[in-house]
Symmetry: C2
Subunit: 349 residues, 2 copies
C-alpha cells in the first residue's frame, strides 16, 4: 500500500501514539461541535471543564447527575463495533437522565484502554461517544485516558430538570406504562448466542442487533412525560422489565398487575418483518421482555382519560398494567391466569 | 472466634454479598452526612442524583467538572491501604477542582472491583472516599459498581467558581509560585521501592508514605488564590513540577526561569525530621521535585509587592521563579548555571 502515509503506519497502536497524542486526537473530536456559550472551557483544555450555569440550565431548578460503566468482559455483546461501544457508553448514561425527565447537557468519559489497542479502534469509540452525545444535544466536556487490562468506559452525565420524576410516587390505581417496545435487544442477544444454529430473515437480524448494539435513550419521551405533570414515577428498563418493576414497587411501596398481552414485545418494524417463529429459537415473548437492553422507560401515570390521551399523542407508549397495593406483589396476568413475577435481571456480582 | 456473627462469615467476599447488598452498604455510608438542602436525591436513591442548583452554587457563575481514574496496576503504590485507595480516588479529582480555584460540592465514583474482593476491603475503600470528600465539604452523590479484573475507581467531581483560574494567562514578568512543598510523595515512593536496602528514621518514613498514600488536595489554597484576583494562571502538580511547568508554558505561551534553591523540596516536618542523607538513598532534590504526587498547586501571580504579601499571609506558598518569553524555554537556575528542563513525568501510554 504505497499511498498509506508513514505517520499512520507508525501510530497504528495507541501505545505508539502516546498519551498526549491520543488525548489531542480525542479532544479535537469532542470539542468540534460544542456550544461555546455554554461550555466556556471544553475537554482537555484545562484542569476542569467550565460550564456557564445560567446558559446551560435554561431556568431549571435541579442539576441531575448519573454515572455508569460499560466494560468489555461484562457489558459488551459479541460483534459490537468500536463506534457502538462508544455510543453505548453515552447511551446508558443518557438513559438515566431520561428516566428523571431531565434535559442532558454535558458528559464526561473516563476510558481505560489496553496499550496494544489500535488507534483506529479508539478513534471509532470516540466517534461513537461524540455522535450519541450530540444526537441528544449533550457536549462531551471532559475525560481521562488510562491504560487498563480491558476496554472500560465510565461515563458521567449531567442534566437539568424542573420536576425530576422519582422512582417513588406511584399510587394505587395509577396506570403502568412503557415507552416504545421491549425485547428487541434481547432478540439480538439470542441471535448472537446461537448465530450458527438458527436462521432468521436478514432484516430481522439487522434490526435486532442494532437495538442491542446501539440503544436509543428516551430523552425526548422522558422530558415530555415529566412536562405532562401526570407521571407519578419513572425508571429506565436497563436490566429488564421484571427488575425495573421490582425497583419501582420497592421505591413507591406498591404492587403491580401487568397484562401480558399488553406488553409491547418487539418493535413494529420487527413484528412486521417477523416471518419466523420465535419459539424456533427457543425464546418466549415474556423472556424477551424480561431481558432488558432496550433502555425504554417504565412509568406510572395518574389515571385520567384526557391526560392519557394527551401523552399518547405525543410519544410512542403502551399501558401495560395497573398499580396495586404493595402486599399484592407483582403479578403478570394472562387471561384469568395470574403468575407472580420472579425477580430476574442482570447483577454484576 | 465464637462472637463473630454468622452473617459476616457468610458475606466475606463481595460476590457473596451480591450487587444489591454491596450497593446498600455503600449508599448508607455515602448518604450519612449529606446536606439535604443541596442534595435532594442522593447516591443510590434514584436513576440520578438531584442537586438544588441555587443552594449548591452560592451565587457562583460557573460549574466546573473533572474526571480522573485511579487503578491498581498503574496508579497505586505498593503498601497503600484500602482506605487510602478510596481517599486517593477522591483527592486526585478534588485537586483538579482546586487548580481552578473552585468550591467543590459533589462527587460521583464508579468502582470496578474483582469478584473475590473481601467485603471489608470495599468498606474501607468506601470509607476513604467518603472521608476525603467530606473533609472538603463535598457530597458523594452517586456511583456505580461493576465487576472488573482489578480495582479501578473513576471519580467525577463538580464545583462552582466565579472566576475559574485557567492554565492560560501567565504574563512575562509574573512570579512563579507553588503551594506547600514538593517531593514528599516522591520520597515515600523511593522508600517503598528500596525498603529492604535503606534505613531512614521511622518518623521520616511515616510522613513520606502518608504524603504518597493520602495526598491533600489544596482546595482552600486554590479558592484563596482565585479570590485574590492576582493569580494569572494555575495548574495542579499531579505528575511532577517539570510536566506542570511545561503545560502552563504551553497554555500561556510563555517560558519559565526557576531558581532551584527556591523550590521547596520536602515539608518542614520532613526537613526537621531529616537526620538522614538523601543522597544515601540515591535521590536528588531535583528528582524529588520532578516526580509529583503531592498535588500542590503551581501558579503565576501579577508582580505586586502588596498582593504577594497578602497571599503569602493567607496560604503556605513559595516564589520559585519568574515568567519569561516563550522562546526562552523552561530553565532551572542554580547560581549562575542554567539548565534546560527536560519534560519528564508520568505518561500512561
Amino acid at each position: 500500500m504505497p499511498n498509506k502515509p508513514l505517520s499512520k503506519e507508525k501510530e497504528r497502536f495507541i501505545e505508539q501514539l502516546g498519551e498526549r497524542g491520543l488525548i489531542e486526537t480525542i479532544v479535537t473530536k469532542f470539542n468540534a461541535n460544542v456550544n461555546r456559550q455554554i461550555v466556556t472551557v471544553g475537554a482537555g483544555e484545562d484542569d476542569c471543564a467550565v460550564i456557564d450555569v445560567d446558559s446551560a440550565r435554561g431556568g431549571r431548578k435541579y442539576l441531575v447527575v448519573t454515572t455508569d460503566t460499560v466494560q468489555e468482559s461484562t457489558h459488551l455483546p459479541k460483534g459490537i463495533s468500536p463506534f457502538q461501544i462508544g455510543w453505548t457508553a453515552a447511551a446508558v448514561n443518557l438513559s438515566d437522565i431520561a428516566a428523571m425527565g431531565a434535559h442532558p447537557f454535558a458528559f464526561t468519559v473516563a476510558m481505560g484502554i489496553p496499550a496494544h489497542t489500535e488507534t483506529s479502534f479508539m478513534e471509532e469509540v470516540v466517534e461513537g461517544i461524540e455522535k450519541c452525545a450530540s444526537a441528544y444535544h449533550t457536549a462531551v466536556v471532559g475525560g481521562d485516558v488510562t491504560r487498563s487490562k480491558e476496554v472500560i468506559l465510565t461515563g458521567t452525565c449531567f442534566g437539568f430538570a424542573d420536576r425530576p420524576v422519582r422512582r417513588a410516587g406511584a399510587e394505587i390505581g395509577d396506570l403502568v406504562c412503557v415507552t416504545g417496545s421491549l425485547g428487541n435487544a434481547a432478540l439480538g442477544m439470542n441471535l448472537i448466542k446461537r448465530d450458527r444454529e438458527i436462521k432468521v430473515p436478514m432484516k430481522v437480524e439487522e434490526i435486532a442487533k442494532k437495538a442491542l448494539f446501539q440503544p436509543l435513550p428516551r430523552i425526548q419521551e422522558g422530558i415530555a412525560l415529566a412536562d405532562s405533570g401526570l407521571v407519578t414515577s419513572m425508571i429506565d428498563i436497563s436490566d429488564g422489565l421484571a427488575l425495573s418493576l421490582a425497583e419501582l414497587a420497592k421505591s413507591s411501596g406498591v404492587g403491580f398487575e401487568i397484562y401480558e398481552d399488553k406488553v409491547p414485545v418487539l418493535s413494529e418494524e420487527l413484528r412486521t418483518a417477523e416471518t419466523f417463529d420465535l419459539s424456533s429459537i427457543g425464546v418466549e415473548r415474556r423472556a424477551l421482555a424480561f431481558y432488558g437492553g432496550d433502555y425504554e422507560l417504565l412509568f406510572t401515570i395518574d389515571i385520567d382519560a384526557n391526560g392519557l390521551k394527551r401523552i399518547s399523542e405525543t410519544i410512542n407508549m403502551s399501558v401495560i398494567g395497573k398499580v396495586t397495593p404493595h402486599e399484592a406483589g407483582i403479578y403478570f396476568k394472562k387471561g384469568e391466569e395470574k403468575e407472580k413475577i420472579e425477580l430476574v435481571g442482570y447483577q454484576h456480582f
